[in-house]
Assembly symmetry: C2
Homo-oligomer: 364 residues x 2
């Protein structure tokens, strides 16, 4: 390798590392397509089970079922060994690693394997949440779909329809988003012909980082502080006057309205009659957009997906420290689909590095 | 991002993803330097404990101690829950994940954290090997260094000096090797400000892949088939005549003699008097190089590190299915040093991807 003529791209910004058929992230026009289908239509008309099959197979299924998987006793025993104060991301990472150890997944990865780990993860996270709270895990009800079943396993109760529908839509919009750092980590790992569990474990570890997995808890704090929609305007004006950032608005890639936020808003509007917390989120957003446009006219501060993610996850009763791991449950479809795609390409991902250390020398 | 003008680099071959002061891999001249020091001198005069400190801190310590860490009961309990037929790499990945969950490592990563996970890993792997064999884990003897202590924990006996010295030298030459796929995975993960355990867990998962972690068991098979040095010439001639590849010779990067193999050979020669298996490895290598130069004069088929890795690991009595995970123990110093370096750079690693899927369309 002739280092002098090799392009240097710190952080790989602007370097195309590969090709994908899975999603198009079009920040300029506020579009997110999974295999050509717009995220708004997918969230409105599809389920997470259908979207996951679409990502894995390339074909849109008229119907699809994806239910939480029952947990092996050994996995539950591993979760019981973790301290109650364990980060939920660490618990999920460890559970998937133990699951993968027992599965002995073969190369190349398959849709069956992708389906299996995606169905395993919600059961594992819910079991950890139960155990750390001093409760027994809830046996899976395989008649439920993944989002509904996750809520059931968290609470032991059948969730209400609005909560299950909102979480399923959240899973749809979180399923896939191009070559972000966690997805890239998964592809690097699978590029060595390692197994799909190793790739997902690496991805969970990457998503754990706060500049990737985000800090949705801050949006929740904000919604709590605002309280009711009537107080939104005064609160936002005061926060902007103090120079504070309004959480849930603005995005690195999307210059227009984040299409995932738009998709979730549409779902929220449809369910607002049956869930007051969704109505509050919609009304607070309207106020925030109006006030931000007035106070910061030169900045593009449109609602991003974190705003509705926080609204939905809080609304269904999740504690904020479970938000990042719940996002990981949604992204499981995308990570595994990228694993399948990378395995088809079957090319090692291995960049160069520039040596900037001491010149050759002898030990003292 | 203007995709049309963005360089497309599948697999990132030839793209410089960042800078490092840790090692220079100079394939053309057969050089491998850790922070400027040649691998031959490091292996001959240094210990793994010193090399790890050098990689972490940048300074060569006159003395350094790195002993295996005692295992928390919970980690041993996790290892007991894994099926006996679990891949050792999966066991190591799961143990480090469980360890990280309990440690709750803070950001940014520290040398203390790097030292802790590097000291933890050999104890975990040895305990897994004991448990799967139906034996109790061996309590750590903190008067032993890492390589010696690992052997002690595997067998319950104090290893002989030649075995401990050879394994320590193996750890030195395996400690670091630029931006290979597992190290790159670790850097991608830490670049999100995730923790060092997550990074190492991802790296173990990447190293598990056979086109990265290699297949040293094949070299062992070959040495077994050859048997004694006197049979080497006939065996190698017959294998080449059958069109078979001679394992342990030739390398993707090194056109000259792999400097890690050279370093290990020097150690092996020094110990040959006290260990017949090292003498065999040296003599078989001599025959192989002479015969390959005669039969394949147009190819550069010099000894690579896998040859001596297999000779050393087999010689100290490791079963071949532990070789990749033992390599992971050695690389722990490099992975964690890259984690520290990436955290200092504190820049998200996130390349672009080219969308090649269907154009925008509507659901059926």
């Amino acid at each position: 390798m002739d280092a002098a003529s090799t392009p240097y791209s710190p952080g790989l910004a602007g370097v195309i590392a590969g090709e994908t058929s899975l999603s198009l992230v079009d920040g300029t026009h506020g579009r997110l397509l999974y295999r050509g289908y717009g995220i708004g239509e997918l969230a409105a008309r599809g389920t997470y089970a259908q979207v996951a099959e679409l990502l894995w197979t390339g074909a849109w299924p008229d119907q699809a079922r994806l239910s939480p998987a029952p947990l092996a006793d050994e996995v539950v025993a591993v979760l019981r060994l973790l301290p109650a104060e364990t980060s939920p991301m660490d618990a999920l990472r460890t559970a998937i690693s133990a699951w993968g150890a027992a599965q002995r997944l073969s190369w190349p990865p398959t849709v069956e394997q992708a389906r299996a780990v995606t169905a395993f993860a919600p059961s594992a996270l819910a079991a950890f949440a139960r155990i750390r709270g001093g409760h027994e895990p809830v046996p899976v009800d395989r008649t439920l779909d993944l989002a509904e079943g996750f809520l059931h396993q968290l609470t032991g109760k059948r969730p209400d329809t609005a909560a299950a529908r909102a979480l399923d839509a959240y899973f749809v919009v979180g399923a896939e988003h191009g070559l972000n750092a966690s997805t890239f980590a998964a592809r690097v790992i699978i590029s060595t012909r390692s197994d799909l569990a190793s790739a997902v474990v690496g991805a969970v570890g990457a998503l754990k980082g706060p500049i990737h997995g985000g800090a949705p808890a801050e949006v929740v704090n904000q919604l709590h502080q605002i309280g009711a929609p009537e107080q939104a305007e005064a609160w936002i004006r005061a926060a902007v006057a103090r120079g504070e950032r309004i959480m849930g608005f603005g995005h690195r890639v999307y210059r227009a309205y984040d299409p995932r936020a738009a998709a979730l808003r549409t779902i929220a509007e449809g369910l607002a009659g049956s869930a007051g917390w969704l109505e509050t989120a919609v009304r607070v957003e309207d106020v925030a957009l109006r006030v931000l446009a007035e106070l910061k006219p030169h900045r593009v501060l449109k609602t991003n997906v974190e705003y509705y993610a926080a609204a939905v996850l809080q609304g269904i009763g999740l504690p904020p420290d479970l938000f990042p791991a719940t996002f990981a449950l949604a992204r499981m479809a995308g990570w595994t689909a990228h694993g399948l795609e990378q395995a088809m390409a079957d090319r090692l991902i291995r960049p160069e590095v520039r040596y900037v250390g001491p010149p050759e020398r002898n030990l003292p």
